[in-house]
Point group: C2
C-alpha cells in the first residue's frame, strides 16, 4: 500500500505530537496523509480529526511513502518498533521537533530535513510558525489542535518553557478560532478514575522526610495491577513536588515483581538529576527517573530513603 | 492619621485584588499609598511589595484619605467590617472591578467613579489597561504582580473567562519582564499540607453516584478542626468535578456544629446553580454553593444525596 505522505510521532504518543499530525491531516480534507500510531491515548479523543488516526494493526502491507513527516522526535529509535517495521524506503523525510537535536543524520535511510528548535515550548508552536510562513490558512479546528499541543507541553502555561513570544502565538491561535477553556477542560478536567484511586493510595502512603523537604510515596505491584497498569498513574510525582515546602518528590512504583521504577521531581533551583544518575537513570534536571531490579520493594524503599535524606 | 490614597479590596482578599493593590503601590516608591487589608493570605507572599501590606490592627486612628481605590469589588458590603470602620469621609472613591455591577451608587458616602467591565477575566487586566492608557511605565515587578492576578483568576488559563485578547495582554506583561513560570510555580506548586490532608480525607470518603456522573464527599467538623479551619480546604470541590465522567461535584463541609456549607461545581453545559438556589444559595451557573442549619451531618447527607441523584 503506497501512501504519498505518512505522519509519525514518537512512541507513547502524546497530545503535542498527535495535535501536529492531526492539524496537518486536516489541511488536506480530500487526499489525506496517513497519520499512523501504535496506540491511541484516551485523553486525545477531543482533538479534531481524531478518528483519522490509524493503528499499525489496521495496515496490512508495507508503506512506501513519498514523504514521511516525523513530529516531536528526531531519531528513528524514538518511534515504536512495530510502527517502524511498516515503513519501507520513503523518498524523503521531514522532521519537526522542539527537543534537543539528536545524533541521527537521516531516518529510514532517506534524505532527511530537520526543522528543530529546542527554544520552542512545543512542536505545535514550531509547526504553527512553519504553516503560517508557508501561507496555509488554518481553520478553527487546526488552530485548536495546535493550541492543545501548547497547553499540554507547558502544563497549562506553568512550566519553565513558557517564555519568549509564546502568548503572542496563543493569541493568534485564539483569533483563528481555538477555544482555550475547551482545550483546558478536555485536558485538565478529565482526571481518569484510575488516577483518582492512585492519588488516594499515594496520599495514604505519603511520607514527608527532612522536615517536609522530601515527599516520598509508593505503589506496589498489586496496586498497579488493580489500577490497570503503570499508565494509570501518569504524573503523580509532580503532585508530590507541588506540596508546600517540598523541594524533592519521589514516587516509587513496583512495575513488575522484581522491577522498580522511580519518578523524581524537584523544585528549581534544587536539582534531582544527580540522584537519578546514581541509579543509572536520566532525564531533565528537575524531572527525571530510573529503574532498578530488586526483589524486595521494602528493602529498596529503606535504601532509597537513606539516599533521599542526604539530598542537600 | 490622614493618608492621601487608601487601597482596599474585598474581604478574604485574593491574589487578583492584592496584585492590583501592590502594583499600584509600587508605582509610588516614595510617597506610597496605603494598601490596607484585614488579613494576609499565605499564598500571596511572592507578590512584589508584599511587605507593604498593612493590617487593620496596625492602624490606630481613623483614616481620612483624599482617595479610596477599591479593587475587585464594587460595593462597601464586600469589604470587611473591621476595615470599613477605619475609613472616615474620603473625598473621592474609585472602583476597579471585573464582576457584575452591583447596586451601590456610592461608597463611604463619597462621590464614586466606577471602572467596571465584567467581560474581563480579572481586575488585574482591567487595571493594566487603565495604567497603560494613562501612560504609566510599568516595572517588571508591577507587570509580574498583574500577571499573577491573571493566572489566579483564570485558574492558569483554564476557566471559561479566558477569551478575547487576554493572551495579548499576557504577552505584553511578559515583554515588560513578568515571568510566567515563576508566577505559576508560586501559585500552583505550593499546595499547603493542610490541603493535602484535606484531599486525602475527601478521596477516602469519595462517593460516585449515578454511574459516576456525580462526585460527592464531605468533611466533618472534627476534620475541619484538625485541618485548621475551612480555609484549609480551598477549591477541593473543583477537584471533584475534574474527575473523568463527572458532571456534578459536591463537597459538604460541617463548618460549625449545626451549620453545613456545600460547594457545588458542574461541567458546562450542565448547570448546578438551580440546586444551590433550592437551598437558598447562589453563585455562578457552574460554580456555586449554599449553607444550611442542620444538627445532623449524616441526615443532611442522606437528604442531599436524594436531591443530587435527581439531577439531569
Amino acid at each position: 500500500e503506497a501512501r504519498s505522505i505518512l505522519l509519525l510521532t514518537h512512541q507513547n504518543p502524546d497530545i503535542d505530537g498527535l495535535s501536529c499530525m492531526l492539524a496537518f491531516t486536516l489541511l488536506f480534507p480530500e487526499k489525506a496523509p496517513l497519520p499512523l500510531v501504535e496506540e491511541i491515548p484516551s485523553n486525545a479523543s477531543f482533538l479534531h480529526g481524531f478518528s483519522r488516526l490509524k493503528l499499525t494493526e489496521e495496515i496490512k502491507d508495507l508503506i512506501s511513502p513519498d514523504l514521511v513527516i516525523l513530529f516531536d522526535a528526531s531519531c528513528e529509535r524514538r518511534i515504536s518498533e512495530k510502527l517502524r517495521a511498516k515503513v519501507k524506503d520513503p523518498k524523503l523525510v521531514l522532521v519537526f521537533d522542539h527537543h534537543q537535536r539528536e545524533d541521527c543524520a537521516e531516518l529510514f535511510g532517506a534524505k532527511t530535513y530537520f526543522i528543530i528548535n529546542p527554544e520552542e515550548a512545543s512542536t505545535s508552536i514550531l509547526f504553527y510558525r512553519f504553516l503560517k510562513e508557508a501561507g496555509f490558512s488554518l481553520t478553527p479546528e487546526i488552530a485548536e489542535n495546535l493550541l492543545a499541543g501548547i497547553y499540554y507541553d507547558t502544563g497549562s502555561f506553568r512550566y519553565e518553557n513558557v517564555k519568549g513570544d509564546i502568548f503572542q502565538v496563543v493569541q493568534e491561535l485564539v483569533t483563528l478560532g481555538a477555544r482555550p477553556s475547551y482545550v483546558a477542560q478536555a485536558l485538565y478536567e478529565n482526571f481518569p478514575l484510575s488516577q483518582v484511586k492512585a492519588l488516594r493510595i499515594v496520599l495514604n502512603r505519603l511520607r514527608l522526610l527532612n522536615g517536609g523537604k522530601i515527599a516520598l510515596s509508593f505503589l506496589t505491584f498489586e496496586d498497579l495491577q488493580d489500577l490497570g497498569g503503570e499508565r494509570a498513574i501518569n504524573d503523580l510525582a509532580s503532585f508530590l513536588r507541588s506540596i508546600q515546602g517540598v523541594k524533592y518528590g519521589a514516587l516509587v512504583k513496583e512495575v513488575e515483581k522484581g522491577r522498580i521504577k522511580v519518578s523524581l521531581r524537584s523544585k528549581a533551583p534544587w536539582e534531582i538529576l544527580p540522584l537519578a544518575k546514581e541509579y543509572g537513570g536520566g532525564g531533565h534536571r528537575y524531572a527525571c527517573g530510573f529503574q532498578v531490579k530488586r526483589e524486595s520493594l521494602e528493602e529498596f524503599l529503606k535504601d532509597f530513603e537513606e539516599k533521599l535524606v542526604r539530598l542537600p
